[in-house]
């Protein structure tokens, strides 16, 4: 071995395919606490930590042999006195002296390894916290829903007069209880939906659907709200346009987009139009609202984000999950939800879904 390689500031080791060490440089010998020529003829496993031996057998060597080289592999070596040293290794296979040798260089990465430990630990903590959060949201929503259904159910019972005569004023109060609990239920359902999507537990049943049929169903549910808000509604859609989607989930997305459009449009109206590019169908929900500023557009599908929350009446305000849910649902159906907007002119949300 030439003296440059022997004393280079990194370890060098060459081994044969049966694992026999053919050459080691002085730097590596010194680092591992061995004397000159001590390791030659040994099996490479002698200088690997126990975990390192498994990793060498299951990853390092097979990759080196199959790929001809390995780069940036973290491998921990064991010194003569039994300490483990974290190393970064590169290896390459070369023909030399009538046999194939695996030439490897090793760099000690003690400091870096400590940082990586911290990063990994932080990653693990974050993942656990995220799981705990999703679980908490899901549990909480379930626990809140049950009493809420009782409140709303008993308000119905009272209003029916089964348990005694009800005055006109009492009926009005009961109706307020009903609508407040319906609102609360919507918020809770949003949180539950979001938690389920977030943990990947949402069920999607893809069917062949006629888009206008789904639109008609959604329109029936919001027609009254359009009337109350004094807004126009137009649909321009090919009656034969068929898509692949989950009908309930698509309805959920459309209702979310339509109610949002109503909420944020003072005058004018909403137009729903459809087209396709041969692979995907697009449903555009266009409003004549005040539009969304550029810096808000980028975060609009993030959970718990609300644009202009202060301009919406408290009873209509959500928790900022509607668009995040719609976006995730569209993606879960192999589609997408995108937005384009101009302040002062209006906003277009586009749902893309595979054509049937």
């Amino acid at each position: 071995m030439d003296s440059l390689l022997n004393t280079a500031p990194c370890g060098f080791l060459a081994f044969a395919d049966d694992g026999t060490v053919r050459a080691v440089n002085a730097t590596l010998l010194e680092l591992l606490g061995y004397g000159r020529f001590e390791l030659e003829g040994w099996h490479i496993q002698a200088i690997l930590s126990p975990g390192g031996r498994v990793f060498y057998q299951t990853h390092f060597y097979p990759l080196l042999k199959l790929n001809g080289r390995v780069d940036e592999i973290y491998l921990s070596l064991r010194t003569k006195s039994g300490e483990d040293v974290p190393m970064l290794a590169n290896g390459i296979r070369r023909e030399r002296g009538g046999e194939t040798l695996n030439d490897c260089v090793f760099m000690r990465v003690t400091q870096r390894s400590r940082y990586e430990d911290e990063i990994l630990n932080a990653k693990r903590v974050a993942e656990q916290a995220n799981q705990a959060k999703a679980k908490f949201l899901s549990m909480m929503s379930h626990d809140l829903r049950t009493p809420l259904q009782a409140i709303s159910g008993y308000a119905d019972v009272l209003a029916l007069g089964i348990s005694g005569e009800v005055s006109q004023m009492q009926l009005e109060h009961l109706s307020r209880i009903k609508s407040a609990s319906a609102h609360l239920l919507r918020l809770i359902n949003d949180i539950l939906d979001f938690a389920q999507i977030d943990t990947g537990r949402v069920e999607i049943r893809i069917q062949n659907l006629l888009l206008p049929t789904v639109l008609t169903r959604a329109e029936a549910l919001v027609a009254l709200r359009f009337e109350e808000a004094g807004l126009s509604y137009t649909r321009e859609c090919d009656p034969d346009l068929a898509i692949l989607a989950d009908s309930d989930r698509l309805q959920q997305i459309l209702l979310n987009l339509l109610t949002n459009a109503i909420k944020f449009t003072e005058s004018g109206g909403v137009t729903v139009s459809c087209d396709h590019d041969g692979e995907r169908a697009f449903i555009h929900v266009k409003d004549t609202g005040r539009g969304i500023p550029e810096d808000h557009l980028q975060r609009i599908f993030d959970p718990f984000v609300q644009v202009d929350a202060e301009t919406v009446a408290p009873a209509q305000r959500g928790v900022g999950l509607g668009l995040a849910i719609s976006h995730d649902l569209a993606r879960a159906m192999d589609g997408d939800l995108t937005v384009a907007s101009k302040v002062g002119e209006g906003t277009v949300f586009t749902v893309a879904l595979p054509l049937a």
């Binding site: 049966d18 099996h43 031996r53 057998q57 299951t58 990853h59 097979p62 199959l66 990586e116």
Partner: protein, 269 residues
């Protein structure tokens, strides 16, 4: 499971001019690429079937279910899905490392499908159980391995994983993928390591009815000689051969000797 789904999910490859199926199951850490020096030697006489476990190689990562793959039974189900999906009978199962035990679990569930189990570097239990059982490892050793995997995947397969998952959407990345061997999703690889090295299949050995070959390497740090001996004593109908090859991957490091040894066993059968 219908045949086309299994083929796609487990990236099944079938070739060879023989009729009797020879099913090769890769071990932990890689994919069907591991068989590339071995499988071609048998294609004149057998029908070669290669596959990747869900989570490995070019399998459908979307089919990975942490619950199903939380024990080796889930992996055995992959083997059975392939066997039943392709309606394979009289199967010669060749499993490397952890796949030896996966093969045993599959053969115990559907013994009528299997003719032979060939196990390369098998171990029913990697961790020592004082006072009687020598598996070769202490718990701390396996923790060391998991740490090494975390560190490597942090900077290595971490970058490969999203590429694999998204290759359908981004065909331009497919070519890049062709060059990446043994790429595994880091989270899945970690769970596979845990399942592999912490499982204990000693109790499954007595029920095996399919004749088997234990291929024991000289000086194998992952499955030491004591483990091979233990298997030979406990596994009904087993034959053991000790290879001159050292290490844990004789089919990669010493393919000729491995091929000769399998031929000899099958010829004698």
């Amino acid at each position: 499971m219908p045949t086309p789904q299994v083929i796609a999910r487990n990236n099944v490859k079938v070739f060879g001019r023989g009729t009797q199926p020879m099913l090769f199951a890769h071990g932990f850490g890689c994919d069907q690429n591991m068989w590339r020096y071995l499988a071609p030697a048998f294609e004149d006489d057998y029908r070669i079937v290669l596959f990747d476990y869900v989570g490995a190689g070019k399998s459908d990562l979307g089919a990975y279910d942490p619950q199903r793959y939380s024990s080796l039974d889930g992996y055995a189900q992959d083997v059975l899905d392939v066997v039943e999906g392709l309606d394979l009978r009289d199967v010669i199962f060749v499993g490397h490392s952890v796949s030896s035990m996966i093969g045993i679990l599959a053969a115990n569930r559907a013994p009528e499908r299997f003719a032979r189990l060939i196990m390369v570097g098998p171990s029913p239990r990697y961790i020592n159980e004082a006072p009687d059982y020598v598996g070769g490892f202490e718990r701390a050793d396996i923790e060391g391995l998991l740490e090494m995997m975390d560190k490597n995947y942090l900077g290595w397969a971490q970058f490969l994983a999203p590429v694999i998952m998204k290759n359908e959407e981004r065909p331009e990345l497919a070519a890049e993928l062709e060059g990446s061997f043994c790429s595994t999703d880091p989270t899945i690889a970690r769970q596979f390591a845990q399942v592999t090295f912490f499982s204990d299949n000693r109790a499954d050995l007595a029920a095996v009815r399919v004749p088997s070959l234990i291929m024991q390497c000289s000086e194998d740090a992952v499955a030491p000689r004591e483990v091979g001996e233990y298997l030979r004593r406990r596994l009904p109908g087993s034959t053991m051969t000790v290879l001159k090859a050292t290490g844990h991957c004789p089919h990669v490091s010493h393919p000729e000797e491995t091929i000769a040894s399998i031929r000899e066993y099958l010829g004698a059968a």
